[in-house]
């Protein structure tokens, strides 16, 4: 990885951090009486635009985030650990769109390493080599799988595993501790989610060995064996690992476990507030902004479906600012 000077970028990010939604703003949003007033308040807080609908607001903010990073950093490959997730999401959309012969673009997101048009065109024309080494094999395998079996879930599992492997490999290659930690936690928490969900659906061992991806903090073979035995065995195994605190949250619900993972990550990143020269504060800002987008999505969905304010509050992640 080419060494870059992040002093200018970090200085701009320090100013941007002051414009992130605060806990007080989030509480105000939750206490709005309906969906429309929440959208209006978001617009007042310079989040999105009140002429846009929920999905447009969220993708507008997501696009704004990646446009800012493109402006600040000469070589965006330092953020590949995040950008690849967008590519793999777009690959899933492209494969399913080719299978069902619909236009994919409304479901695709920006901020990947490849343009959504390129991914869709390569999949549609079976020109997998142009997607590059990371995607070539999995794109072909997932398209063949869905065309032969029509099983969208199996296709997702293949792409998810390739995504986890790519993120783990990036984490291993980088010298940035903050990206390394993120990659490891991302892969480990995804493995736990796959194990818990698969176990609840009584999936066979083959499913787990195919879906779980190697990481340093979990023994995936042991996790797979325990997942076949049942949910309690997964919890017993996890209580012997560094994720023992997660067991209580997993027992409560999957969304509570996801919140625990996001909180763990954002709390680990808070020390980046005091780091002036490295990529760390930019990584922290990307995650903070994504957390903010997640929080707004939760609030808007909650308001649309008339969910109780306390139920929305429980699901909101810790904020970076």
């Amino acid at each position: 990885m080419k060494s870059q000077d992040f002093t200018y970028a970090v200085s701009r990010i320090r100013m941007k951090e002051t414009k992130l939604l605060s806990k007080k703003d989030i509480d105000r949003l939750i206490s709005q009486k309906d969906y429309q007033s929440t959208i209006r308040l978001l617009s007042e807080l310079s989040f999105g635009d009140d002429t846009l609908d929920k999905n447009q607001i969220l993708s507008y903010e997501q696009n704004k985030l990646w446009a800012l990073m493109g402006e600040l950093v000469e070589d965006l490959s330092v953020f590949d650990v995040f950008r690849l997730q967008n590519d793999f999401h777009n690959l899933k959309v492209a494969v399913k769109s080719v299978y069902s012969d619909v236009s994919p673009y409304s479901m695709m997101i920006s901020g990947g390493t490849l343009s959504s048009e390129k991914i869709y065109d390569c999949v549609r024309n079976r020109n997998f080599k142009d997607l590059g080494d990371v995607f070539c094999e999995v794109a072909e395998a997932s398209l063949d799988t869905i065309l032969k079996t029509g099983d969208g879930q199996l296709c997702d599992a293949l792409i998810d595993k390739a995504c986890l492997k790519a993120i783990f490999d990036l984490g291993e290659k980088t010298n940035e501790a903050v990206i390394k930690d993120y990659a490891e936690l991302f892969v480990a928490s995804s493995n736990i989610k796959i194990a818990v969900r698969g176990s609840k659906l009584n999936k066979p061992l083959e499913f787990f060995t195919k879906s779980l991806s190697f990481c340093n903090t979990l023994d995936t073979e042991l996790l797979a064996k325990n997942a076949v035995k049942g949910f309690d065995e997964i919890c017993t195994y996890l209580s012997q690992t560094k994720y023992k605190e997660s067991v209580d949250y997993i027992r409560k619900s999957m969304s509570s476990f996801e919140k625990w993972c996001d909180d763990l990550l954002i709390n680990g990143l808070k020390k980046q507030k005091y780091e002036p020269f490295t990529v760390g504060p930019l990584v922290a800002y990307i995650l903070a902004k994504q957390n903010e987008i997640k929080a707004v999505r939760l609030i808007l969905i909650g308001k649309q479906s008339g969910l109780d304010d306390t139920k929305i509050s429980e699901r909101i992640r810790e904020l970076y600012v």
Binding site: T7, V10, S11, R12, R14, M15, K16, P276, F277
Partner: protein, 160 residues
């Protein structure tokens, strides 16, 4: 006579360019950070400017010491007299504190200034505190300047 004068001039040159290099690196680093903050909030110009200029002082200290040496050997003010090799070496030695301390303290002060600029960016009210932290690094440049000046003044009194 020639070698003595050369050594004294070398001292003046070292004081100027080493402290100057330090200042330019320090101000350069702080300037990049200041530009980043100003791109988002131009109203903070006066606050970030002060922090940005803090590492510039070492270059001025180096210049001051160089002037004193040039004056001591008579290159400025006329009447350059006999400069023995020992006297030349003493002027060179006298320049070293500000040359070395100026170089390193300005670079580190620049880093401190960057952090201070980030603090002001997030909380403009903390300007006073953000200024004191990089100013602490200045202490060591001032101590070096003091020793260099005392040494240069002392050389004349030795009567070599």
């Amino acid at each position: 006579m020639e070698l003595g004068l050369f050594l004294a001039l070398l001292g003046a040159a070292l004081a100027t360019f080493l402290a100057g290099i330090g200042s330019s690196i320090g101000v350069g680093k702080a300037g990049v950070a200041a530009a980043g903050v100003l791109a988002e909030e131009p109203n903070l110009f006066s606050k970030v400017l002060i922090l940005m200029l803090l590492p510039a002082t070492q270059g001025i200290y180096g210049l001051l010491v160089a002037f004193l040496i040039l004056q001591g050997v008579g290159i400025i003010g006329g009447g350059a007299g006999e400069i023995s090799n020992l006297e030349g070496l003493l002027y060179l030695a006298a320049s070293l504190p500000i040359a070395a301390s100026g170089l390193f303290s300005a670079i580190h002060q620049g880093k401190c200034s960057v952090a201070g600029i980030h603090t002001v960016a997030k909380k403009p009210d903390t300007m006073g505190k953000a200024l004191i932290i990089p100013a602490m690094v200045e202490t060591y440049a001032i101590l070096a300047l003091l020793i260099s000046i005392l040494a240069i003044n002392g050389i004349g009194a030795l009567g070599i």
